[in-house]
Symmetry: C2
Subunit: 451 residues, 2 copies
């Protein structure tokens, strides 16, 4: 059996490793367009901040047992009838690779914003290793003193942190009401406080429209009279799926042009699977596909695709959209649905916000932990949670307790039944997760929902 | 309805608060034998270390809405026919308190070890606020330079940490093969390394037999030629249930003499509930009662007892024995069953141990996280997990992810389906929890258990 994989990032590599693990006799070929198999794209801001000085260490792994890697090979077309893929190598030569089972794991690419001057020198996207090398070279050679970052999502804000660490003055131009639109605006505002505390300047509801090269640097202009001149401009306004290859072969496309797959990660073409940032993702709470590119999901989907390709039936369990970001000393995490997402999906959501200590206040170092919890008034079920707190407050694994509860469809009241660990330096007899659930229940006037 | 509660610690107070919350018209009286309602007994080591300078701050709360507190009142007998409790106040006067529903929440007390000289001045147990004041006075007035701690469980080891912080040289005499017998001996040995790194001397498999007052201090002797002279001796060799009051009234006793209760926290007497360290605890995995006194459990049981007393049917969901302790910079946590406990209970356990990074190694500050995971070979189900790691490695909330998975009876393979949060400074695309599960599956040769 020849399992051909197009794409050398999380989904592709996870699939190859899993296929080899389950069936060591499987012949596995993996085509990647660059020479950086399974590099941690999420780690690029830390390379650029200087916290991770050697980019080589960003490789998730350097050994790929059972996988024949073909770096610098670009897949150009798929013939789903003849079952082969046309590939061009670095020298421009084309070759054809036959497959029994094919995985399309072509990932995503940055959205090209409609900004005049986007292609000027000193203006960079940040998605690939090559992007990152270009920014790194610029930082080293030009020693910029100032930067404008267009976009206030994970990458934009992590880069605000990274450049500030290098002594660069950063201005963030955010399109939304508050930065980090993956959490509610009130929490986005708290994130802004952390950014501003470290010297980052934040502009909200700004649509950047043009970049001009001036004697003083790159002049960025936008709505709301936004105007800043800086030595460096980063543009990080989201990603879109690299779905063209699959689409040209006849794979149906869905949300945002991503490839349609079922929960076995099968596309609409026989023996062709797809996984990772180029596909739609099954949402466990919404019970439908969405476009939600995340590295964790890509790993799971790649693994699931390989299992099915090998002949072991397995369904992708679905995403809850669990995410976390560290910005300076602040951690912002979320899982599940927010109020409006839940309402749109037909739930009857109620959201309660509370602030508790991360551990017993009598033990030194207690810090405030902020929780916004969304549940369904009718069923009493947990729908989602957003948490903000200090980097030492176990915020991310607390959101994971919520994620595990969500996975099982727990009711808010049932969270009190969980036997969670407690010692005064780390928690309270009712963990903050449970205090949040209790607060929600009272606030919702829903205290007897399960009783 | 008059709800009478005997005991002012976690179970009693949790019950009173919950009863008032559900039924504000309920008349609630709470009798406690000292004057410290709902103090955090788990916090005593931090008061004695000086980390929590003011003992008043150990109060979990200082307001008790809807509860009439009767401090310094000792319950002496229960008449389950007449439905009243005989109580003696601080002046020696006796009074009778009628009840409609009664909760016995009399807690536990330290095991009195069979050690000659246990009652000498300078030898202390540590369980109540009064014990703690006595030790504190001794520390302040005598400024001891050395201490022997008999017992190497949570309290003993936390006190080794606490006294070391005060500049006292500590020797721990442990009865078991390694300290902290709640984790496997290999992990106990790792805990010893942390203790010894901070100057604590550890003796294992020592049964202390006598303490003598000598010119040089208190001479502690035991098996294996153990002999140490110190200025202070602490004895912390476990607790036993304060079940005499309930037993005298006719409540059936079970494991270790604890009061028998069903999952509604009803005793064998009508309208008499019991909860907390004086009762047997339903174990969710063993499907039977055990004696496992923990503050988290006491809160849950008190809450459950109150709900049933109020007339709302609710069952205690059961304990998983989730526990965590911080010793210097090390966190040791566990949940569920260990290999031998599982085997005794009829499971077919297999345990795998692995060490992974707590977050991506390329981001500064990555530390080793040790996981020992136990699962059932036949069913592929998770049975338990033990974790050791640095205080900033989110160890305790990672054990809680295992606890939440255990609560739902998840198979090891299903842990890979959990949508857990990831950012390089805090985790990996597969969280250490999932890496541990994957390692177990491979080690058990059980990779297709769920597939």
């Amino acid at each position: 059996m020849h399992f051909l994989i197009i794409g050398g990032s999380d989904a592709g590599i996870a699939a190859g490793l899993r296929a080899h693990e389950l069936d060591p006799s499987c012949e596995i070929t993996l085509v990647l367009s660059d020479e950086y198999p399974n590099y941690s794209i999420c780690g690029l801001p830390f390379f650029l901040s200087g916290e991770t000085p050697d980019w080589h260490s960003l490789a998730h792994r350097t050994e790929f047992p059972g996988i024949q890697l073909m770096p610098n090979h670009t897949a150009e077309s798929i013939d789903p009838i003849g079952k082969f893929v046309a590939v061009r190598n670095g020298n421009g030569a084309q070759l054809e690779l036959r497959y029994d089972k094919l995985l399309i794991a072509t990932g995503a690419r940055p959205v090209q914003p409609n900004i005049e001057g986007f292609h000027l020198p000193g203006v960079f996207p940040l998605h690939t290793m090559e992007d990152s090398f270009a920014v790194h070279r610029f930082l080293e050679e030009r020693q910029p003193k100032s930067a404008v970052i267009v976009g206030a999502g994970y990458i934009g804000l992590e880069m605000a942190d990274a450049l500030t660490r290098r002594g660069v003055h950063v201005t963030v131009a955010s399109r939304t009401e508050a930065v980090l639109a993956t959490v509610d605006p009130g929490y986005g505002k708290r994130v802004e406080v952390e950014l501003e505390k470290h010297g980052v300047e934040v502009w909200n509801q700004v649509q950047a429209s043009s970049i001009r090269a001036t004697r003083d640097g790159l002049a960025v202009s936008g709505t709301k009279e936004f105007s800043r001149t800086a030595d460096l401009v980063l543009v990080a306004v989201g990603v879109r799926p690299n779905s063209e290859l699959g689409a040209a072969a006849g794979v149906t496309q869905g949300a945002k042009g991503a490839l349609c797959v079922n929960r076995k990660m099968e596309t609409t073409l026989p023996d062709v699977y797809a996984a990772g940032d180029c596909v739609e993702t099954w949402h466990r709470l919404l019970n439908r596909n969405t476009y939600m590119p995340l590295g964790t999901t890509a790993h799971k989907q790649g693994r699931t695709a390989a299992e099915n390709a090998i002949g072991v039936h397995r369904e992708f369990a679905g995403s809850l959209g669990t995410q976390v970001v560290k910005l300076f000393d602040l951690i912002a995490a979320r899982t599940g649905l927010r109020e409006q997402e839940a309402a749109s999906a037909g739930f009857c959501p109620f959201t309660a916000e509370t602030t508790v200590w991360d551990h017993k206040a009598y033990y030194p170092g207690a810090r405030e932990l902020h929780l916004r919890i969304t549940g369904d008034r009718h069923t009493g079920k947990l729908l989602g949670a957003q948490l903000l707190g200090h980097r030492n407050s176990e915020v991310s694994k607390r959101v994971d307790i919520f994620a595990t509860a969500l996975f099982h469809g727990m009711k808010m009241e049932e969270l009190n039944d969980l036997d969670l660990s407690y010692t005064p330096p780390l928690s309270s007899p009712w963990d903050p997760v449970q205090m949040g659930a209790q607060f929600w229940t009272k606030a919702a006037g829903n205290r007897s929902s399960r009783l």
